[in-house]
């Protein structure tokens, strides 16, 4: 298959106050996931695994640094090659353009024209899944659609109020699209849009040239019931990130080996930034069970039901249980961490206890130095 069949636009429209303080200095896209990934790795891997080489990323000013730091030159994703491009554009530019009476989506149109791909895929930034875009494209082509939307059948407790639900006709096409909070009838499961759309580029350019929209996602959802479109049901593992419990649960889900295999051992590899880390060392006194650990760690204490990111030290006698530990954290001897999310570069002094509850997760902010006990409770 030649490469320029699809070009990709990755949006960053979703941010949730309920994810603070983890998203204080980074967008949702660069939240850690399962020890070594960031949320954006999943969308980006889907894109590059489909041999897409032109990627347009819409980002927010003031939050772009974290994305650049993660992507670097794009080497790991093969986006630093001749004929491959990452374009960055800012939502704020769209607002500025609109204010100046210009077409807000002008940069997007320029990108689509330069990429010269007959199909465009749009991906949102909040779902973790391993989607085969070539399979979606095939359906899109066979159905001869203008647009194909990807959804997952999901339970109500895994849907955020601002997520979009697709109501389908009998023939599988879209009857209407509604935000979840506006759904009147309640059922067990919903057709949750995964914010992924394949559209015909020519049609998209034409529509955007007459559009004043500031939200590409809104524009796509609005168009969906009005044109020749159908849907693709994704059957693999998905998690939907919109608040601390959903984020915590998505990570813990990986300790179920069915989820772990579905997401990370499919034939499409999930790519992330590589670091040169030494193998993780387990001391003779260490005690680790039902946990996932990235490389570069030194484990001397007890770890259970937890996810531990790169270059973390768990010192002698420390206990980490039901916790998510992000990179380069130092967990002092005989300290205890339970039901907690510990951000990057944290230092926890020896003997300190950080004890959350299943329904009251504690969060330790990036770069903090914890010297005294923290207890969460009702």
């Amino acid at each position: 298959m030649k490469t320029n069949k699809i070009c990709a636009i990755i949006g960053n429209e979703h941010e949730y106050a309920d994810l603070l303080p983890l998203t204080e200095n980074r967008p949702l896209s660069t939240l850690y996931f399962d020890c070594k990934y960031r949320i954006i790795d999943f969308a980006l891997s889907s894109v590059v695994n489909a041999n897409v080489r032109s990627v347009f990323m819409l980002v927010n000013e003031g939050r772009v640094k974290s994305i650049f730091d993660h992507l670097g030159g794009g080497r790991e994703w093969g986006l630093d090659s001749i004929g491959s491009y990452q374009y960055f554009s800012f939502y704020q530019d769209m607002v500025r353009k609109k204010a100046q009476g210009e077409l807000p989506v002008g940069d997007i149109i320029d990108f689509l024209k330069a990429a010269k791909a007959p199909y465009t895929v749009y991906l949102t930034n909040k779902f973790v899944c391993n989607l085969d875009l070539r399979a979606v494209l095939k359906i899109h082509q066979e159905q001869n659609n203008q647009m194909t939307a990807v959804f997952k059948r999901a339970a109500a407790n895994r849907i955020a109020p601002d997520d979009h639900i697709l109501t389908l006709k009998k023939d599988g096409t879209v009857k209407h699209v509604k935000e979840f909070r506006k759904m009147s009838s309640k059922t067990e499961v919903y057709n949750l849009s995964l914010g992924v759309f394949i559209v015909n580029t020519e049609w998209l350019i034409e529509q955007l040239q007459n559009s004043q929209t500031l939200s590409l996602e809104e524009f796509l959802f609005n168009s969906l019931p009005q044109i020749k479109s159908s849907t693709y049901e994704y059957t693999g593992y998905v998690s939907n990130i919109y608040d601390l419990p959903s984020y915590y649960q998505a990570n813990l889900d990986m300790l179920n080996s069915e989820n772990y295999n579905s997401l990370l051992f499919s034939s499409h590899k999930v790519i992330t930034r590589t670091k040169n880390e030494v193998a993780t060392y387990f001391s003779i006194a260490s005690d680790v069970q039902n946990s996932q650990i990235a490389t570069g760690c030194v484990i001397k204490g007890k770890v259970a039901n937890s996810l531990i990111s790169r270059r973390t030290l768990v010192d002698n006698g420390a206990v980490v249980d039901h916790a998510i530990i992000m990179g380069s954290t130092k967990i002092g001897a005989k300290s205890q961490i339970r039901y907690a999310l510990v951000d990057k570069d944290v230092t926890i002094d020896p003997g300190v206890k950080i004890i959350g509850q299943p329904d009251n997760l504690l969060v330790v902010k990036k770069n903090e130095h914890i010297t005294a006990n923290i207890h969460g409770g009702k």
Binding site: D34, C35, K36, R75, L255, S257, Y260, L264, F265, K269, V270, I271, T274, K275, N276, E277, V278, A279, T280, Y281, F282, S283, I284, A285, S286, D287, V288, Q289, N290, S291, Q292, I293, A294, T295, G296, V298, L307
Partner: protein
């Protein structure tokens, strides 16, 4: 392109003493320490010493090595004015020649070295585990105004007769070289690391090969010739961890020493990182039936058994009820249920069926790359 010093790594050897581990790839490509291949240590030493142009001379089964090194990006060697070049046999108008020895391999690659235009040539082996700052050695070389500097390490006297021994004077000048002497006069062993003034070495080699004077090996021919010719030959002393991993026993020992990192290699020191090609693999999964102690484990591993004082490399799977003790498991190997492995090196992409026993208590056991032992594990 002008370089002060470039390096050439002699990675041509089959390493037949590593038995089945090198049946389909060269010794420098053998995995080490869970995360690395042997040559990574030498390549990383180069990069950390500020040497950014490296030739890797190879002629035995180079595919794995070539794939591993690729464009050198893993070591930052795809930088502007830097690069790693694989040098294999080729033909020219004079005909076609295989590399017959270490010095002959350099002679055959004069064109490559000339194109880099170095003042000094660093000659390395690709089969030692150590961290060394070659830039310090270069400073020694320049201070002494040497034509050749040889890195030496003091070995136990009772082992000295297994090495090339350098006898030095009070200025550290090498006045005599003995290959594996029965009665060594010193315990200064050559590490097989040489810095040459390139123009001098070039003319020595061209002159010898034109006149058909034997100048095939550095140890056998070149160093004795330099000493005899009155060239300034100096020793550069090294005292850190250094291990030849040319035999099954020494490869196993080096891996075991690596686990606890108490051998002076200090592999977690980020100011002198050991770089390698990183596979794309998820985090390791230690299940609730596993116990892992005094061991090293890397990305992609799935561990349901008991691991004691062992190294698991990328994408190794070990099912429940199995015991791995004092062993090295190389990448991609699958181990079934209730397997026992002791004092063994298990090669890459091996499949070991349920209930198998591999016991190297007497002599370290080896399973070659791609072998299938016993029944295949159930696909449950």
């Amino acid at each position: 392109m002008k370089n002060e010093m470039i390096a050439v790594i002699l990675a041509g050897g089959q390493g037949s003493r590593l038995k089945d581990l090198t049946k389909d790839s060269a010794k420098p490509a053998v995995p080490f320490g869970g995360r690395y291949r042997i040559i990574d240590f030498t390549l990383s030493n180069c990069v950390n010493s500020g040497i950014y142009n490296i030739g890797v001379i190879t002629q035995y089964q180079p595919l794995t090595l070539n794939n591993h090194i690729g464009n050198g990006a893993s070591w930052g060697l795809d930088h502007l004015d830097s690069g790693v070049t694989i040098l294999q046999p080729y033909s020219n108008k004079e005909g076609s020649k295989w590399f017959e020895g270490t010095a002959h391999a350099i002679y055959q690659n004069i064109d490559y070295i000339d194109s880099m235009d170095p003042e000094y040539l660093l000659v390395l082996s690709g089969d030692h585990i150590y961290k060394m700052d070659y830039d310090q050695m270069l400073q020694t070389h320049k201070e002494k105004k040497a034509a050749l500097t040889v890195a030496v390490i003091d070995v136990p006297w009772d082992e000295a007769s297994r090495f090339g021994i350098m006898n030095t004077d009070e200025n550290n000048r090498i006045i005599e070289f003995e290959e594996k002497p029965a009665h060594p006069k010193s315990n200064h062993a050559s590490m097989g690391i040489y810095i040459f003034n390139w123009q001098r070495l070039r003319s020595v080699l061209v002159n010898a090969f034109t006149k058909e004077v034997p100048m095939i090996d550095f140890g056998k021919n070149v160093i004795p010739f330099y000493i005899k010719s009155g060239d300034n030959v100096f020793a550069h002393n090294f005292s850190g961890y250094w291990k030849d991993v040319g035999t099954i026993q020494s490869l196993w020992e080096a891996n075991m020493e690596f686990i606890d990192d108490q051998d002076g290699l200090n592999v977690r020191d980020r100011s002198w990182r050991v770089f390698s090609k990183n596979p794309i693999a998820p985090p390791q999964f230690i299940t609730d039936t596993a116990t892992v102690n005094a061991s090293m484990v890397v990305d992609g591993c799935f561990v349901a058994g008991k691991i004691e004082h062992s190294i698991l490399s990328a994408n190794v799977q070990i099912k429940g009820g199995s015991l791995v003790k004092d062993s090295v498991i190389m990448p991609g190997t699958l181990i079934g249920k209730n397997v026992t492995i002791k004092r063994a090196i298990i090669g890459e992409n091996v499949t070991i069926g349920d209930n198998a026993v591999i016991d190297g208590t007497k002599e370290v056991a080896v399973v070659g790359n791609g072998e299938v032992i016993g029944v295949k594990p159930d696909e449950d």
